[in-house]
């Protein structure tokens, strides 16, 4: 340990922070300025505090979707979609990883590698077949259609498998001798012990779901299911003057739910890490 502060390291870190913070700052500052000024490229980095009301205005701004659904509605849709994807992904991958890690069944390896292979098939690659399936199931413009195709998740399965195989065998055996069947074991041992990983994964998957663009664009053509990410894009119509200050205010609002999720789960995440000794 050095007594002297490492100025170089701090300098590098500050530079990194500035790199990340600057665009966000431009967005917040930009939201409080007039649309025309931004369009001219006349953007000031000092927020105009008299125009803070723009954020409230953006929340109820209905110009973004054709049917006039306000931004708060889009935020709700986005939230439902992201939470649904995160929860669904966790539920599915938890169970499949549980099966792969703790049970010996025929074709276990094959099942594992099949799941592994789907890593190479993100939505963008399989978007046409996925759309065909969802559409023939009449799930277009439903929450199901919005979330289900994004739920199957190799990444989460692999991560959980890693966590589960790291559990000591004696723990599994002790629980078996104590009379715990597989599902009781899942509920009483696996879930509490991997709570920290659950929290971390939920955060990552929520942000992943929140940021989805391509799939909602196809699967939710009805304005009633427009997510906030789609809404922001629709605001930037090429044939009319873009209300840049509203776009920036909406973008700011769109950032908030993921931030809240991160902050909320950060506590559980850290607590889980400090309490367990696996």
């Amino acid at each position: 340990m050095k007594d002297k502060p490492d100025y170089l390291a701090h300098g590098v870190l500050l530079l990194g922070v500035a790199l990340f913070v600057l665009p966000i700052w431009v967005m917040i500052a930009g939201a409080t300025q007039s649309a025309g000024a931004i369009a001219r490229g006349d953007l000031s980095l000092i927020p105009n505090l008299r125009h803070l009301g723009i954020f409230g205005q953006a929340l109820f701004f209905g110009g973004a979707s054709r049917a006039g659904y306000p931004v708060w509605h889009m935020l709700l849709i986005s939230f439902a979609m992201a939470a649904g994807i995160a929860a669904g992904k966790i539920a599915i991958s938890l169970i499949s990883a549980f099966a792969i890690a703790f049970f010996r069944f025929p074709f276990r390896k094959l099942a594992f590698w099949t799941i592994f292979l789907t890593l190479m098939l993100p939505v963008e690659v399989r978007i046409i077949p996925s759309f065909a399936v969802v559409s023939s199931l009449k799930l277009i413009n439903t929450y199901g259609g919005l979330t289900l195709p994004l739920i199957a998740s190799a990444t989460a399965t692999l991560l959980f498998r890693q966590v589960f195989t790291a559990l000591p065998d004696e723990l599994v055996e002790a629980a078996r001798l104590d009379g715990a069947g597989p599902l009781v074991f899942l509920r009483d041992m696996v879930l509490p012990v991997s709570r920290a990983n659950l929290a971390a994964l939920f955060v990552i998957l929520f942000v992943y779901g929140w940021n989805q663009y391509l799939w909602p664009l196809l699967a939710a053509s009805s304005p009633a299911y427009t997510t906030v990410v789609l809404g922001i894009v629709q605001m930037m119509a090429p044939d009319q003057m873009t209300p840049w200050n509203l776009v920036m205010a909406t973008t700011t609002l769109a950032l908030l739910p993921p931030v809240v999720v991160v902050l909320l789960l950060q506590g559980a995440f850290v607590r889980g890490l400090t309490e367990t000794d696996k």
């Binding site: 000591p168 723990l171 078996r176 001798l177 009379g179 509490p192 012990v193």
Partner: protein, 332 residues
Amino acid sequence: MAILELQGLAKSFGATSVLKAIDLTLASGEMLVIVGASGCGKSTLLRLVAGLESASAGRILLDGVDITRQDPSKRDVAMVFQNYALYPHMNVAENMGYALKLRGESRAAIAAKVEEAAALLGLSELLARRPAQLSGGQRQRVAMGRAIVRQPKLFLFDEPLSNLDAKLRVSMRAEIRRLQKRLGITSLYVTHDQVEAMTMADRLIVMEAGRAAQIAAPMEVFERPASRFVAQFMGAPAMNIFDPARAGLTDVPPGTMAGIRPEYVELTADGIPFTVELVEPLGTETLIHGTLRCGQRLTLRHAGPPPSQDGLNVRLPAEALHFFDAESGARV
């Protein structure tokens, strides 16, 4: 009455035979210690009884009921693991009461039983703690408590003391034995430590390469080892094995090797000349390593401080000699 009966119990992993036809009967309340070097199959034997491995052949009877194919949760046996295997996210009380909770006992009944066991083990103050907040010895006690609370038909111990430091091991050893006697629970105890085996067992089973080399009371094993392997495994330092003819002994069974424990070798004024190579003073006694005139190695344990003179003579009392077949190693 036999509580546990093993009939020709065998286990092989693929082509490797780990356990070869073990026959064993445990009386009610008996503490049977399974001792052997690592890889001799002693843990496998325990895990077969627990149901954590499935037998390749043979039967396991518990209280007269065939449990060979039964799920571990149905067997009514409790196991204490080497690394304790406490549930990290539960406190001491929850750890101990978990099996009762799964059995559907009432909260009050569980609390009463847990408190009783905790008092027995001196854990009453620690019930709200998590395993991570306990010392090694305390964790060991909780693991014991978790087994006791269930009042199982059979206790299984898988080297429960090997993660403790030497001092704690000695006190926990006595404590486990006291508890086991007091509660009268039939127990199988696996260890590689022969002192643990000698001090704790009603009967010992010395394992050698998947076979039971000897099953007998500890002193019987010590005084009348069934084979050369058992003779050398039990006792420290190990029994001296030598060729009796070369050492000049007369009246020996033909085709045998002789054995004598270091304790019984006597230092005398006249006898077989003995060249000292190394002296290890242990305080109250001394270990002397050296060679006989014929060149064979011998270790002896001498009460008191190291003898001063260099040229020593030893006597090998006939009543302390063991003879083992030179080929098979069986006792003659």
